[in-house]
Amino acid sequence: MDLTCLTAHKLLELLDNKEITVEEILDALFERIERLQPKLSAFASFDKKEAISRWQKNKERIKDKRLFGIPILIKDNICVKDELTTCASRILKDFKPPYNATVIDRLEASGAILLGKANMDEFAFGSSTESSAYYITRNPWDLDRVPGGSSGGSACAVASHQTILALGSDTGGSIRQPASFCGAVGLKPTYGRVSRYGLIAFASSLDQIGPITKDVEDAAILLSVISGYDPKDSTSAQIPVPDYRKIIKEPVKGMKIGIPKEYFQEGIDKEVELSIKEAINKFKDLGAICEEISLPHTEYAVSVYYLVATAEASSNLARYDGVQYGYRAPSPSAPQPPSPLLDMYKRTRAEGFGAEAKRRILLGTFALSSGYYDAYYLRALKVRTLIKQDFDEAFERFDCILTPTSPTAAFKIGEKIEDPLTMYLSDIFTISVNLAGIPGVSIPCGFTKEKLPIGLQILGKPFDEATILKAAYNFEQATEYHLRSPSL
């Protein structure tokens, strides 16, 4: 039995019955990581001895055994005390946080084992993991293709069985799109569902941490562990966390599902479209009621997002100035610049940030600058209201909404990296969700002729992750796409 290929809920059952040991799981996983890291580069950092010793030390802190002995990979923008946390950026090259993110405390209190950190686009700026300062992560189904991004390392590692579970972060699709490209399950929870304390900020009105897993039940388990109010994050909501694992197993008969016509217009790949239509039919077979709806402001989402997200990013990234932590550019030997401090800031940021980070800082600073603020940033916030209202209206009549996760399957490495606008447009189906703050999950729903996974996105009402996970679980149990693995 290859333990690496099993789900968390299966491993929990085997551990409970004492049929396997935690050591066996770790040995099998690290053997696989050692073999696949040179091929796929999913990890930013890992260390078997460190993972084991950390877990041993943590044992006294375990409060419940919901994830006892289950290995998890953490995206490199989530702070793990005393472990490298770099956002795949040169500017945080040697950064070791002095504290844990709340999600890390919760995982460790449930007995999970931290395997290491996952590669990502620098500061989560990207849709392909090509803008990592480390290296490019590859898609496990086709090594010439991207795994998606920005949580590309997390999704790749789950799909290639180098970890059992993973955490990603999603600001405009960064969990769902890579999950879709790699054939995994990726959930972006409602804004406020999961504490962001210790998540290195990209766009504070959009960011959420969420699970990337092999199946829906694992996503439900992981979500229940990391969710809930946290006094350290003033945007976390004081809303009770339901028993997701139980609810998802209820049938979807009578569930009302909206299909937004704007998601099936030009630009969508024919194979993706066909696959989503088959998924809709499957839901009808399961007794759900599917009807076409309209989300009329969909076409403005990319514009709004790239103004709002970059404005917030430019402000959040102002903290990287070479003073309190991170990289500092060496001072010039001669001549002494007129303002040595200002000069240090500017060169530190020039040398520390990659091209996409610079582009977003420039765009965001521009949108916020005097003379352009009203025309760009403020107007974008108003259009954001219209996008949110589209969803509010749809959810008055429907329990959830079905769409493709991405207009295409995984694209080729190098295909879009030189053309930022084309890269931004690949997020077209995922970013409205972040602007509206609602939850969304991507699950495998088919394969292209070239054997690349296709993702189905299910969107729900705020704080109603249970319904979208229920829909996802019912679809998954009625299909076999989640059982396929890439041959590596």
């Binding site: 950064f95 070791k96 002095p98 504290y99 804004y191 009105s205 006094p231 003033s234 945007t235 909501a237 402001h297 403005y300 990319v302 514009s303 709004v304 790239y306 103004l307 430019s314 100035d321 070479g322 003073v323 309190q324 932590y325 991170g326 990289y327 001072s331 040595p340 401090l341 000069d343 240090m344 800031y345 500017k346 940021r349 020039a350 940030f353 610079k358 582009r359 800082i361 420039l362 765009l363 600073t365 521009f366 600058s369 025309a375 107007r379 974008a380 916030l381 108003k382 259009v383 954001r384 209201t385 219209l386 949110k388 930022p420 606008l421 931004y424 509206a436 703050g437 609602i438 705020p462």
Partner: protein, 95 residues
């Protein structure tokens, strides 16, 4: 054009980002294309729409005025690129 080389140079200065001349040209072209695309939000009438800066309707979140555990000076300065004792060292500001 929505954005020109001088504007990018000015914005880079605001963002405390040193850019070489060739970078300024490179970014100007790309930003112009992106801004041209986002212009479409100007088509909509948003006169009567209020802005959404945040998806949750939250108002002032206060915590109790109570001392909680926090980082020691050693921990807080552990990642500093340059320090002296528990102080951050920066280039000279005042002559």
């Amino acid at each position: 054009m929505v954005i020109d080389i001088d504007t990018v140079r000015y914005v880079a200065e605001l963002a405390r980002l040193h850019l070489e001349e060739k970078d300024i040209e490179y970014f100007t072209g790309q930003l112009a294309r992106i801004l041209e695309y986002v212009e479409k939000i100007k088509k909509l009438d948003v006169e009567k729409v209020s802005p959404t800066s945040h998806p949750l309707s939250l108002k002032n979140i206060f915590r109790e005025d109570k001392v909680m555990p926090s980082l020691s000076p050693e921990e807080a300065t552990a990642n500093a690129p340059f320090k002296s004792g528990n102080l951050f060292v920066v280039p000279r500001i005042i002559e």
